[in-house]
């Protein structure tokens, strides 16, 4: 019950950061907060948080951003799945190496999201789509520390 509560609070915080208004010039630099949090939980507790939670979170992001329903669900499920496969190896990595891996995963997320958008004629090709991946990768070590301390304080396993 307590762990469920902590999951919900961290995911809600991520959704809030995701919906935070940003000035137009910074819109490409927004990290993928929701993905960041879900990736941490998948790596830390792969048997409790999995693709189902990722799917639901993606749905929430779609509703929040007013986008196509199912777009973020699709990419989040794919990313959470690939992360769940590699979680043992990822735990061995140094935090910065993990950051690079996260950057790669978010790039894939951006690319699939862009394909969907471009196929539907909503997006113009630009390399800026990889900017959130880089920012998310750079943020990973710190969010890892914060989320780990949250997990330890509440003793969730």
């Amino acid at each position: 019950m307590k762990s469920f509560f902590v999951f919900v609070v961290t995911l809600l915080a991520a959704l809030m950061l995701e919906a935070m208004p940003l000035p137009e010039s910074l819109v490409w630099y927004r990290p993928e907060w929701a993905l960041l949090v879900i990736l941490y939980w998948v790596i830390a507790l792969p048997f409790r948080v999995g693709v189902g939670v990722a799917w639901f979170l993606g749905l929430m992001v779609d509703l929040l951003q007013g986008g196509i329903i199912g777009q973020h669900s699709l990419t989040y499920v794919l990313i959470a799945f690939s992360c769940a496969i590699f979680y043992k190896r990822l735990r061995m990595y140094h935090r910065w190496q993990q950051g690079i891996f996260v950057c790669l995963l978010v790039s894939i997320n951006q690319l699939i999201g862009f394909w969907v958008d471009h196929y539907l004629g909503n997006a113009e090709p630009t390399l800026m789509i990889f900017m959130p991946a880089i920012v998310t990768g750079l943020l990973w070590p710190w969010s890892f520390i914060i989320l780990r301390s949250v997990r330890r304080i509440y003793a969730i396993r």
């Binding site: 959704l15 951003q65 329903i69 004629g121």
Partner: protein, 261 residues
């Protein structure tokens, strides 16, 4: 499983609009998050409205009063011109343009999605907003309503990459389609032949073709015309006149029901 479900949902949403009727209710799920996130901005707006100094208010009041006077004098001229216009149209046996009804709305949010450029306004179908309605701000055409719920609507900005707007050059009457490129600061004019008379500084207005936007409202200014050898059309860069990322108050143009699509 979930991947297939997601893809099915994307297709259902885009191709068949299956989610359109339940979307307002689904959005209630995330509404609390939106409220919390938009609170700091609301506080900022509120404080700038309520904590203004007395001198500032007096000054603003004077400036506004002057502006009203100027606008009134212009309006008098406009009325006589309008009457003249109607007379001339009657002479030509052309159909008269009906006065459009205007509803004011306030911008309450921006879509935080880098691909799509939509804003949220505080008028929904309970105030008469409908899908396809044209939205303007004080300086030009802003976009069109694409989604309505009871008390809010989403407006697709003209700069969105999926938006195409039929326009006309006010100087020459040359008609074309203005395409958004997903950037709020510039747009592209489509299919302009190299021989067309388009110059820097030309003003574009809505042409009224396509029947969605009323004709004659200013849209943008031509910033640059490039002729790239080998390309079939000239590359015409347009700066939108409306303050796409900044406007706080917008106007919804209400068309009579018979003219809606």
């Amino acid at each position: 499983m979930l991947v297939i479900l997601s893809i099915a949902m994307i297709i259902a949403d885009v191709r068949y609009s299956l989610f359109a009727p339940i979307r307002p209710y689904l959005t209630w799920l995330v509404a609390p998050i939106q409220v919390v996130v938009n609170t700091p901005q609301k506080i900022l707006y509120w404080s700038s409205d309520h904590l203004a100094s007395r001198e500032g208010l007096v000054k603003e009041n004077q400036a506004l009063n002057q502006e009203i006077l100027i606008l009134h004098s212009r309006l008098q001229k406009l009325e006589s011109l309008q009457a003249e216009n109607v007379r001339l149209r009657e002479l030509l046996d052309a159909s008269q343009r009906v006065d459009e009804k205007i509803v004011m709305a306030e911008v309450i949010g921006f879509d935080q999605n880098a691909y799509s450029h939509k804003i949220l306004i505080d008028k929904g179908f309970s105030s008469g907003a409908y899908i396809g309605q044209a939205v303007l701000d004080a300086t030009g055409v802003l976009g069109q309503v694409v989604e309505t719920s009871a008390y809010t609507s989403r407006v697709l900005l003209i700069a969105d990459a999926s938006h195409f707007l039929p326009v006309q050059l006010s100087r020459t009457g040359f008609r074309s389609v203005l395409r958004g490129v997903g950037d709020l600061k510039h747009m592209k004019l489509m299919s302009v032949p190299h021989s067309a008379d388009v110059k820097k500084g030309d003003i574009l207005t809505t042409s009224g073709l396509g029947k969605r936007f009323p004709s004659g409202y200013p849209v943008g200014v031509v910033r640059a015309v490039k002729h790239v050898p080998g390309k079939p059309y000239a590359d015409v860069d347009v700066v939108p006149l409306a303050q796409l990322g900044r406007s706080r108050h917008v106007m919804l143009i209400e068309k009579p029901k018979s003219e809606r699509q």
